[in-house]
């Protein structure tokens, strides 16, 4: 089913998609379009591209910097707390070709807008003609249908991401208001997830799940099991309050809860941990993890060398995480919520303190 959204006719002098796009600050640094550095040195080659329109995104997610009702002009809005500089699309594609050996994964993020599908297709085509690095699309379900997903695959996209963000239907409707012409529905999101899985194949579809929007731990755990059973990837994000957004004053999840969710997700996905190993309290939050012996015990001892705490992102050609979103869910002054590299020994020491595994095992 298609949802009618206003289509804007591009005016030549407007710096809008498809001829202009925004890219993340980290992407601009990686392509040396912008000077800058990360607090810690690591290789970075995940390029995040965002569609740009004068009237912006028509969605209105309470936690998002681009939300329609967030105060301020769209062009001045931050997204994930940082600026997204604007570049001419063709210049960007040429620059990506110049730095192709550094690139690990590319991603176009749609916004909810009447022109978003058409422009995503256009930009996908421009990129795939010149760049070999794999391309994901983070799609806006209200703008899509099955045929459009098929066409985007034909143009060269190999993975689809869906920003479900809220892991339960009630949280979904609590955190979002509808788009002006309707179409923002939990079912619509799941239709697009199911079409994507069917069209793109196993482990080629990912669902963004945000910790800290009001969900319970059990909501998260149930979704991890469900997605795994369908060979769909769950990508974990930590709610990071965006100033002036409707949820700008909401607290972030505690680091203890966040680390435990990271660990439990890893145990479910990589070690087939049975849900019976988890005890939830009346509020649906994890209070105890039964060590099941063997491999799970080893993970609890070694923390799997830090792998559970790395960024969930689409892979590069070598299979390693190619989209690492450094400082996407936390400020540089905070602990890394997810690590864009394998955590070092000192990081693992800190993670152990944050996660309090002994307490988790004892049910304290």
């Amino acid at each position: 089913m298609e949802f009618p959204l206003p289509t804007m006719t591009p005016v030549e002098e407007k710096m809008i998609s498809p001829d202009y796009v925004r890219i993340s600050a980290a992407s601009a640094m990686a392509l040396r379009l912008q000077s800058g550095r990360f607090s810690r040195d690591f290789e970075f080659g995940g390029i995040n591209i965002l569609l740009n329109y004068e009237n912006g995104c028509l969605s209105d997610c309470g936690y998002c910097g681009l939300a329609r009702t967030r105060p301020g002009d769209y062009e001045d809005k931050s997204f994930i707390r940082v600026d997204w500089p604007l570049y001419e699309t063709d210049l960007l594609v040429d620059r990506m070709a110049q730095y192709e050996d550094k690139l690990t994964r590319l991603c176009i993020s749609m916004v909810t807008h009447g022109s978003a599908y058409r422009d995503t297709a256009d930009i996908t085509e421009r990129i795939c003609k010149k760049i070999k690095a794999p391309l994901s699309l983070l799609v806006a379900p209200p703008t899509l249908n099955r045929n459009k997903l098929v066409h985007l695959k034909e143009l060269g996209a190999d993975m689809i991401g869906i920003g479900l963000d809220a892991v339960s239907e009630s949280v979904f409707y609590d955190t979002r208001t509808n788009v002006p012409q309707g179409g923002l529905r939990w079912k619509n999101y799941w239709d697009i997830i199911n079409y994507s899985r069917e069209i793109y194949g196993p482990w080629k579809v990912n669902i963004h799940t945000v910790v800290g929007l009001g969900e319970t731990d059990e909501d998260l755990v149930d979704l991890f099991y469900d997605l795994k059973s369908r060979q769909i990837l769950a990508y974990l994000f930590c709610f990071n309050p965006e100033p002036d957004s409707r949820m700008g004053n909401f607290p972030k999840s505690t680091i203890k809860r966040w680390r435990r969710i990271q660990l439990v997700k890893h145990l479910i996905e990589e070690y087939d941990m049975d849900k019976k190993a988890l005890t939830f309290n009346d509020q649906g939050n994890i209070i105890k993890l039964e060590s099941q012996g063997g491999k799970v015990n080893k993970v609890l001892r070694t923390l799997d060398n830090g792998v559970p705490f790395m960024t969930n992102g689409c892979p590069g050609e070598n299979g390693e995480v190619g989209c690492t979103r450094p400082y996407g869910s936390y400020r540089p002054t905070e602990s890394f919520r997810d690590f864009p590299f394998l955590p070092a020994t000192d990081d693992l020491t800190l993670i152990r303190q944050e996660i309090k595994i002994e307490d988790l095992l004892k049910g304290i």
Binding site: S35, G36, R331, T333
Partner: protein
């Protein structure tokens, strides 16, 4: 002003090489700020904390911290003395460091207590400053921290 790399630099000031600060000395008061290369490679500043006026500091002591979008820096005193003024405007708007590093983006002033001893560790003179900054630009380019045309 002398253009080196992407930025214009003043060569009539002292520079502290380790921290990258410029230091403008008048009547034993050192006004301190970040040099344009340091601000450029740090990214857009979003938060700044400075030690308060009246705080006595030794060279190398913490005088605050600064947070950019993807980077956090710890600020250390380039000279010893007492903090005599803090730039309240830059505390309110840390992006002034990016937009006007020698002007409105200055950080604080220190009334120096050991300038005679510590002056020799500071860089001065157009030739010395130019050589140092050219080497810094080359180093930063090698690290991939500078935008290229």
């Amino acid at each position: 002003m002398k253009k080196i790399g992407n930025q214009n630099f003043r060569t009539d000031l002292f520079y502290h090489q380790e921290s990258g600060y410029w230091i403008d000395v008048h009547n034993n008061i050192a006004r301190i700020g970040m040099n344009p290369l340091l601000q450029e490679t740090s990214g857009s500043f979003v938060s700044l904390k400075l030690q308060p006026k009246g705080e006595a500091v030794k060279k190398g002591d913490s005088i605050g911290s600064v947070e950019a979008e993807k980077h956090v820096g710890h600020l250390k005193a380039p000279v010893s003395g007492t903090i005599s003024t803090v730039n309240e405007k830059v505390l309110e708007n840390p992006r002034l460091i990016n937009t006007d590093p020698y002007g409105k983006g200055w950080l604080l002033e220190i009334e120096m207590s050991r300038f005679d001893e510590e002056q020799s560790a500071l860089l001065s003179g157009e030739d010395n400053i130019t050589s140092w900054l050219e080497a810094e630009v080359a180093k930063y380019e090698e690290k991939g921290w500078l935008a290229t045309p």
